[in-house]
């Protein structure tokens, strides 16, 4: 159990991390945040590469910052494919084991085992330069796994891979760790956080905004910022106000939904993009298409309606020319209510699941 208490780090007056309160338990912990949110800074502090400027970093009561790097059990996988260029794949994986002084046949056994798990067995005698990008990153992951460290750190390991390779490796990653290991995995992608599962830690501008099981954070974001970070494409958020029992969003007006908090006046209303559908529903958003972007198996339809830009996430691939009429529908039960400062007042009633 690793504890971070009021941990902060600033470099030359620039704040990188501030007031981090966090408990990392064995299992998967995903650091979700945009670029420059402080993910890499936090990983470096956890790895012992940087020292916090304030606060404490302890493991089971022991101060980690005083422990020399060589005495700690940490593995780090980076965005770039970092391998020993002059070593074969086999020697790359064996390197951390040799440093531990393991016996020859024990090393051979572990190398074979790890290579099988990350599926690079046929490549053991090649040099890193002879591997594709995906294979190079598999090798870097293999070396980290071989180390069998108690703390495994991943800094957006898939970001430099081709789309299909990323998809494949992402599916395998979760199964590669064992129970006792504490995995900290940094990513910008909501779907990756959901797929890795475990605990999600939402990081923004050097601070932790929310922590909890991935699906709970996804369905009950504590603030507009969390909702925007934890949704691809970002959640639709529009300013709203209540007048005579009706909710007004820009030019749109509708009866106030039952789950809206009592006494509501000015607020911000959120609607997840996948909640806008083309099958008729109580809220009608009629306007014109700004752009249709395809992502994996869905289409992000950007459109303008009621004086507001909206994004709908539609299943499947749809060609929508720019300027074509677009009508989306939504259910008032799916609206999130946030206070004007962005804190959550009421989650969508539709935040249900089987």
């Amino acid at each position: 159990m690793i504890r971070l208490e009021n941990l902060g780090r600033s470099v030359d007056g620039a704040m990188h991390l501030e007031g981090i309160e966090l408990t990392l338990s064995p299992g998967i912990n995903v650091l979700l945040g945009r670029t420059h949110a402080g993910k890499t800074s936090l990983l470096r502090v956890l790895a012992g590469l940087d020292r916090p400027t304030t606060g404490a970093l302890t493991q089971d009561g022991q101060d980690l910052t005083q422990l020399p790097l060589s005495k700690r059990s940490v593995a780090f996988v980076y965005q770039q494919f970092v391998n020993y260029p002059a070593f074969s794949v086999r020697d790359n994986i064996a390197a951390p084991l040799r440093r531990k002084g393991l016996a020859r046949d024990e090393i051979a056994r572990r190398v074979a085992d790890v290579a099988r798990r990350v599926r690079i067995e046929p490549l053991l005698d090649r040099l890193p330069a002879q591997l594709s990008g995906g294979q190079q990153q598999r090798l870097a992951i293999a070396r980290a796994l071989a180390k069998d460290a108690a703390l495994m750190l991943f800094d957006e390991p898939l970001v430099n891979l081709d789309y299909k390779l990323r998809e494949g490796l992402r599916e395998e990653l979760r199964g590669l760790f064992h129970d006792g290991q504490t995995v900290v995995y940094a990513t910008t992608e909501p779907e990756e956080a959901l797929q890795m599962g475990g605990t999600t830690i939402v990081l923004h501008e050097g601070r932790v905004l929310q922590t909890g099981p991935a699906h709970e954070v996804y369905r009950n974001p504590a603030s507009v910022t969390v909702a925007e970070i934890f949704s691809e494409p970002p959640m639709n958020v529009v300013a709203g106000h209540v007048e005579q029992g009706r909710l007004h969003l820009g030019d749109l007006s509708m009866p106030l939904p039952d789950h809206a908090p009592a006494g509501l006046a000015g607020c911000r209303v959120g609607l997840q993009p996948h909640r806008i559908t083309r099958t008729p529903g109580p809220i009608r958003l009629e306007g014109e298409t700004l752009l249709a972007e395809v992502d994996g198996s869905s289409t992000f339809a950007h459109f303008r309606a009621g004086g507001q830009p909206w994004i709908a996430r539609l299943d499947g691939v749809h060609g929508l020319p720019i300027g074509a009429p677009f009508t989306g529908f939504a259910d008032p039960a799916d609206l999130y209510f946030f206070a004007e400062d962005g804190t959550l007042l009421a989650p969508a009633q539709g935040a249900r699941h089987g």
Binding site: D162, L291, A292, V294, G316, R352, G354
Partner: protein, 363 residues
Amino acid sequence: MAEITISGLRHSYDGDLSDPSRLALKGIDHVWRDGGAYALLGPSGCGKSSMLNIISGLIRPTAGRILFDGRDVTDLRPEERNIAQVFQFPVLYDTMTVQENLAFPLRNRKVAPAAITRRVAEVAEMLDLGPLLKRRASRLGAAEKQKISLGRGLVREDVAAILFDEPLTVIDPQVKFDLRRKLKLVHETLKLTLVYVTHDQSEALTFADQVVVMSDGEVVQAGTPEELYERPAHAFVGRFIGSPGMNFLPCRIEEGEIRFDGGRLSAPGLRRLAGQEGLSLGLRPQALQPADAATGVEGEMVGLEDRGHYRIADVALGGARLKMRLAEGVPAPQGRFPVAFRPGSTLVFAGDRLVGDLADAQA
């Protein structure tokens, strides 16, 4: 603007056409229609970059011809072809201002200064570069730089086509939307022939009206984004497009039924394929659904992955493992459960080729 015709194109980097397995391009015939927005999509090493360089004239193909509007340009050099190209990383003349960069192709062609100024202003207006014209190009952000690269192609009124080589790689995700929209608007306004080369299906499907999918030196399918997604003509397209890709379930057709390990489906319309070897069912993850009543096919839940507003179930069907997509609100089945196949989305492949679907077969 021009229609680009490619016929009998074969290319080998050592000039030797005798061994087909070593060719970078293995015989391609394709027509890029005038004014079309095309994507050339495929994994690295599929030959798409060779194809791009052959169209632009940087590589001379070992065999085959390239025609622009019926005129043979195979032996013409790039500067004689009126092709413009936008590269993966912004390629700019660092010492010049934005205006000078845009004017450069025209100045080299000895266009009158007044005409240059007018044309540069028009293009800058279209790309929202007007306020930046006097700035040094090297000081701008990646998105502006890519717009300048594009602008250098657009200033030439005689340009036959603009080629894009993964032009959004260095663009921040937040700015991509603007640039994508700008590209589409430029295409709609000018009706240029555009060819966009990428390995990323999202880029290809977002940009193009027609996507040409290449694999291993061959064109495996050309079609609209919807066609590629809903009716992939080749198994490679099914796997490559969509996330997760298409499931393939080996099967055979006997007595008017599709039979596979774990079940059977009635398909009287597919008798013509009876007894044929190498058949399989191509199933997008949403083609499979839990059914309310027995369907003759029973699957078993092996795993479930929550991806927010949908879940991907790992289903064992006989000896095969399939991915099934469950929409939000659909309860996840437990243990053994009856599986329904959506007829229109259950495709039949012979070898790698699409030969029919369950909807026709049951009609």
